[in-house]
């Protein structure tokens, strides 16, 4: 049973560029959430997708956007990258009917230079 898979694992971008990160949830899970984890900090909630719609959003600007596909996989897009966007981006999957048992992927390390 595959867990949560994310790609790419590492990437380097230049300020002002755009990036797309991808996530496949754990088998059978229908809800995908994205978190940003800066060095030395706990993960911060960006947003959550369920039934291909954004359900909840954290305190992140509109430069952060996402999408969920019919197979429940998801993308996180960040436009106009800033140095401060450098972080580990984590995808978390869960099953909407089973509450708050949430599993994380290994993350995508983004460095903005």
């Amino acid at each position: 049973d595959a867990g949560v898979t994310q790609s790419p694992t590492h990437l380097i971008k230049t300020r002002g560029q755009q990036v797309t990160l991808r996530c496949s949830p754990k088998s059978g899970h229908d809800t995908v959430s994205w978190y940003q984890q800066a060095l030395g900090q706990g993960p911060q909630f960006i947003f959550q997708y369920y039934e291909e719609e954004e359900r909840q959003r954290g305190n992140f600007p509109d430069r952060f956007s996402g999408h969920q596909f019919p197979n429940y996989s998801s993308e996180l897009n960040v436009n106009a990258l800033l140095l401060g966007d450098s972080a580990l981006y984590l995808c978390a999957s869960s099953l909407s009917s089973s509450g708050n048992t949430i599993y994380f992927g290994e993350g995508s390390w983004l460095t903005v230079v």
Partner: protein, 114 residues
């Protein structure tokens, strides 16, 4: 004031010691409490999950929740060098038919010395 406070450590203990990790929180709406273990440059791994107040045990790990004090703890018995990692507490409000966002502490870095 942050919603969830966690001592960042680092905490260094000898192998075999009992480890106590703690978090306090301010939002009385939190009902679900979780502990995650995160190895360096890896994603968080769910260790323990508790609902409301009380204790839960799983092998060498015990999670305690005291909602009256807004205080949660994770105890690790017979600690091993392989337990060396960052431990993150996380919590969320009442489940309402959907997965709620998690609010994390900053994490406590634990080092178990052989």
């Amino acid at each position: 004031q942050k919603e969830v406070e966690q001592d960042p450590g680092p905490l260094s203990v000898p192998e075999g010691a009992i480890v106590s990790l703690n978090c306090t929180y301010s939002n009385s709406a939190f009902q679900y409490f979780m502990w995650y273990r995160q190895y360096s440059r890896k994603g968080p791994e769910l260790l323990m999950y508790t609902y409301s107040s009380g204790n839960k045990e799983d092998g060498r790990f015990t999670a305690q929740v005291d909602k009256s004090s807004k205080y949660i703890s994770l105890f690790i018995r017979d600690s091993q060098p392989s337990d060396s990692a960052t431990y993150l507490c996380a919590m969320s409000p009442l489940y309402g038919g959907a997965t709620n966002k998690l609010i994390f502490g900053t994490g406590t870095l634990l080092a178990v010395q052989p």
